[in-house]
């Protein structure tokens, strides 16, 4: 295991970081929209989000990625594997994040929502300005957890051809006949990234403002 090989892995881990961070943020956006649909009081929207969440939580991510990867071209959409990977990871994490956010939305103090309504906020304004910020603050630890899960799950996008950390490790293992040190190094890099994310998450958690009490 030379420094040259290790630096190639480090370089590839930037792609892992890129795919994961974009997917987490896009997934968070979709999750907020899903939560809004769930709470809109519209039965059809409620049912659709329910099926969406159940499907993306019930099917292995690998199968979802392969499906999206093969389905998009049939639908006439030929995207680079980076875009396909981000779409797949975002949809999957959105379903999990929507479930996490649900607890946060349930914990928003009723009084705050009522006072917003009294002040003339529309339901959408209340959702955007009152409910969502509080729900996000409440579920922040779950978001950090999900970020770590997605960082690990991003290894699956290697199966649809994106050259991130795992795919690079596979390529190097095949060309050098040294799978043991190379996959072990990849594992160490994932571990280091996750430890840093967990540490940053704890620091951010302490720095964030407190929650309104009931």
């Amino acid at each position: 295991m030379t420094w040259k090989l290790f630096s190639l892995l480090l370089e590839a881990s930037l792609m892992t970081l890129l795919v994961s961070s974009i997917s987490i943020l896009v997934g968070l956006g979709i999750a907020i929209v899903l939560s809004g649909m769930r709470m809109s009081g519209n039965r059809a929207l409620f049912a659709i989000t329910g099926v969406f969440i159940s499907f993306f939580r019930g099917v292995p991510l690998l199968v979802q990625l392969l499906l999206i990867y093969n389905l998009l071209p049939v639908l006439g959409l030929t995207l680079p594997s980076l875009a396909t990977a981000i779409i797949g990871l975002s949809l999957c994490t959105a379903a999990y994040q929507a479930e996490n956010l649900r607890g946060g939305f349930e914990g928003v103090p009723k009084g705050l929502v009522e006072s917003a309504e009294m002040a003339g906020f529309s339901p959408v304004q209340t959702f955007i300005h009152i409910r969502t910020p509080i729900a996000l603050r409440m579920t922040f630890p779950a978001l950090v957890n999900e970020a770590i899960l997605i960082l690990k799950s991003s290894s699956l996008v290697s199966a649809i051809g994106l050259i991130e950390l795992t795919k690079m490790a596979q390529n190097l293992a095949a060309s050098t006949y040294m799978p043991l040190p190379i996959f072990a190094s990849a594992g160490v890099i994932y571990l280091a990234i996750n430890l840093v994310v967990a540490w940053l998450g704890r620091r951010a958690e302490n720095a964030l403002p407190g929650l309104p009490t009931k």
Binding site: L62, L71, L156, S158, G187
Partner: protein, 219 residues
């Protein structure tokens, strides 16, 4: 664009064999993971501070790295240290070890939830350590441990899909192979997704029944 599901469904027996392999590895791996996780948690609970700290390391390593990298390391790296495994054995070991790290944490939380006074009371009336585990700790933590265990079992079911990448003939591998033979990849993957979805929903449903039964027992 037209989809032809008939060519996939015509391969029923092959699909079924994939489903059987998935379920066998899942059930076997899950049981092994739970038992191993319980043993690790028990060692950490009773083995003293040194053992506790020492066992924390492999648990953190397994929980902090992707399962895919772990099975690649085991299956492709293993032969270089004399560990030559066939895909199914490697997959089974992979699922068991990966799951054990998570189950160990679940049971550790369970052990910690039992009030110290209950254990001390059992010691006072002369219970042996095994009796304390069997008659005090396990029953008291069962209700707390069950929901995360069900969750973990479902996660492990989905993780078995990755074993297709080390050529275990489970359902992701068999169904996508049918898809490429028949040149009907999307159809194959849709069928595959639906089967997983159904399996997960059934597992969820069984889990809810188990939770209800257990909470009635302990009520």
């Amino acid at each position: 664009m037209s989809f032809d599901f008939a060519v996939i469904l015509a391969q029923g027996p092959k699909i079924l064999s994939g489903i059987v392999v998935t379920i066998l590895i899942w059930v076997g791996g899950n049981v092994a993971a739970a038992v191993l996780g319980f043993l690790i948690a028990t060692l950490r609970r009773f083995g003293g501070r040194g053992v506790d700290v020492l066992l924390q390391v492999p648990i953190e390593v397994i929980r902090g790295t992707p399962f895919l990298v772990q099975i690649f390391l085991l299956y492709f790296g293993g032969p270089y240290i004399g560990l030559r495994l066939d895909p199914i054995t490697a997959g089974f070991i992979g699922i068991s070890v990966y799951g054990a790290a998570y189950y160990a944490e679940i049971f550790r939380a369970g052990y910690r939830s039992v009030p110290v006074g209950h254990v001390e009371a059992a010691e006072c009336v002369g219970f042996s350590r095994n009796q304390i585990i069997r008659f005090v700790l396990l029953p008291e933590m069962a209700l707390l441990v069950l929901p995360p265990s069900i969750n973990m079992a479902i996660i492990l079911l989905k993780e078995t899909a990755l074993l297709s990448l080390i050529t275990v003939p489970e359902m992701t591998m068999t169904v996508s192979a049918i898809g490429s033979q028949q040149y009907a990849f999307v159809e194959a993957l849709v069928v595959l997704a639906l089967v997983y979805w159904a399996l997960v929903e059934v597992a969820n449903w069984l889990g809810r029944i188990a939770e209800r039964k257990l909470s009635k027992l302990s009520a």
